[in-house]
């Protein structure tokens, strides 16, 4: 009974914190939403908020595009790689190699994002810059992001592959199926839910990543016309300017935060929908 109440209390607290965070974002956003207006956040010619509500420009659209493009690209790249890595270490790797390989992926997961960013800034960006200047670009950001979310997909997918009952595998072996046929026909469908969850979690991390991207994407506010154009993420926008922003500029940055929250909420809703409609249909 006490346990039940303790759990209820903890759940209420977790929910309460989310409500508080969203409420805080809304309260801080209101001055900008009121004096600038929602429409200008998508219609203004650019992003120059320091000049104030009247003369400033407040378009967040290009940053929304930047965030979606980098996160989307990274998920597209990391999903096959991560799934491949999970299948390799679960079914194809020799036991010892598989164990060491898994450790390696775990280390990859633990590297702080600022280290990826630093490496991207001093190694990857100049490398890409030699080929397609300036080097700090959507592509660089997407590649760094791919590296960062790859371990999430790999480790969580592998966990869900491991949770497929051994009896299924014995069944496929008894039927004389090849390794690939049993993976393709039995294991992957059985682990589908967990794999999808891993992709969604990785997407969430990709949308929210800040520091590494701030250092490698060039941070120019524009809709990219190619992979080699610099872009700015909604998250980097907050990190770059919050410490230096006043009044409506500051409030406009909270609007960026609100948009990010909305993106994540949409992602969670999509996850719910997928697991309800597709998995148990």
């Amino acid at each position: 009974m006490t346990l039940l109440w303790a759990l209820r209390f903890l759940a209420a607290m977790a929910a309460g914190i989310i409500v508080l965070v969203v409420g805080f974002l809304i309260v801080e956003s209101i001055p900008a939403l009121r004096s600038v207006g929602l429409l200008r956040f998508i219609n203004d010619p650019g992003w120059h908020p320091a000049a104030g509500a009247l003369h400033g420009e407040f378009n967040l659209g290009p940053m929304l595009v930047g965030t979606l493009a980098a996160a989307g690209g990274a998920v597209l790249l990391a999903t096959p790689l991560g799934l491949g890595s999970a299948l390799f270490s679960r079914f194809y790797a020799p036991a010892t190699a598989g164990r060491w390989y898994r450790r390696l992926v775990e280390v990859l997961a633990g590297i702080p994002s600022v280290v990826y960013g630093f490496w991207g800034l001093v190694v990857l960006a100049p490398l890409i810059g030699q080929w397609q200047p300036p080097g700090q670009s959507l592509l660089t950001g997407t590649l760094i992001l791919t590296l960062m979310i790859l371990p999430t997909v790999a480790l969580l997918s592998e966990a869900s592959l491991r949770s497929v009952p051994a009896s299924y595998l014995r069944g496929t072996a008894a039927l004389g199926l090849s390794r690939w046929a049993s993976i393709h026909g039995v294991v992957l469908p059985a682990a589908r839910g967990g794999i999808l969850t891993s992709i969604l979690l990785a997407t969430g991390r990709a949308l929210g990543e800040t520091m590494a991207l701030l250092m490698v994407t060039g941070n120019v506010v524009q809709v990219p016309r190619s992979m080699f154009d610099p872009v700015r993420m909604l998250t980097s926008n907050i990190a770059l300017e919050l410490g230096y922003a006043m009044d409506n500029h500051r409030s406009a940055l909270f609007v960026s935060g609100l948009i990010l929250m909305a993106l994540i909420a949409a992602l969670v809703a999509m996850a719910e929908w997928i697991s309800d409609e597709r998995l148990h249909a």
Binding site: W47, L121, P134, G243
Partner: protein, 276 residues
């Protein structure tokens, strides 16, 4: 931005070696001193704070970095005892008192391999407005220019814009950076980049082997001497700010920061000490 803090700390360590005897302050000072504002001034004040704490063991100096506008807002609101600003006060800020502790300049930097040796104001303007998209237009090799500019709200950007009489939306940047070190690393990694950064940080990084080159401005070399004698066109004071009556602890810290004892600390960070 952890590693930037590390570099700042290393720069600070270099400052320790030149320590001298500090002036004696009467009476026992104690309490906590919150100082917030400009990220250019913060490493210097943090270093001064360490020396001040050694001198007055019962005083804690808490330095928070976050931009000149933040420093002004915090000292007005009273959330900070002293503000830091890397620029002179504006007319509408006359309720504050500025105490200059050092001076710094803003210099154009390019990659060390860039053959361009100097740019005049008109050329810098044409580069930053995108009119000259190629180094060949300003006497360099045939390569597209990577224009590096600072993010909105930074006082370096404000100073740069007002010196070259540009509006924020006239600048066509290829890369937007946050602090000076990010700009220096970007230029060091891109042979075709140009940026404007604090002379202090640029000289420190160039002297530790970073592949950058500081360009003279209107023929004046970006050195400590030219900033000190005022001949360097783009220079700025590094200020401590107070609002209203000044408590003894605040006054003691400001006096200490402006004292001769802090000269080596200021110079170790490649800033220019105030006269004499």
């Amino acid at each position: 931005m952890a590693h930037f803090a590390i570099v700042a700390a290393l720069a600070g360590l270099a400052g320790c070696s030149g320590q001298r005897d500090a002036p004696a302050v009467q009476g026992e000072l104690s309490g906590r001193l919150v100082i917030s504002g400009s990220s250019t001034v913060a490493p210097l004040v943090a270093e001064i704070g360490k020396h001040f704490e050694k001198l007055h063991p019962r005083v804690r100096v808490d330095v928070q970095s976050g931009g000149s506008s933040r420093g002004i807002a915090d000292v007005r609101r009273g959330t900070a005892d002293i503000g830091m600003a890397s620029r002179a006060l504006k007319q509408e800020e006359s309720d504050l008192v500025a105490h200059t502790i050092a001076a710094d300049g803003i210099t154009m930097i390019v990659h060390r391999s860039n053959p361009v040796a100097a740019l005049d104001d008109a050329q810098v303007v044409s580069i930053y407005t995108g009119a000259a998209g190629n180094w060949s237009a300003v006497g360099g090799k045939d390569a597209p220019i990577t224009v590096v500019s600072k993010a909105e709200g930074r006082s370096t950007l404000e100073l740069f814009l007002s010196h070259f009489k540009l509006a924020a939306n006239e600048v066509r940047p290829g890369i937007v950076i946050g602090d000076n070190l990010q700009g220096i690393l970007t230029v060091a990694g891109d042979p075709n980049a140009i940026a404007y950064v604090s002379i202090g940080t640029a000289r420190f990084e160039a002297s530790s082997g970073r592949a950058i080159k500081l360009l003279p401005m209107n023929g004046v070399a970006p050195t400590v001497a030219s900033v000190r004698d005022g001949s360097f066109p783009l220079s700025r004071p590094l200020n401590l700010l107070t609002h209203g009556p000044v408590a003894p602890l605040q006054q003691a810290f400001i006096d200490y920061a402006r004292s001769v004892a802090m000269r080596p600390v200021v110079e170790a960070l490649y800033f220019v000490p105030i006269a004499p």
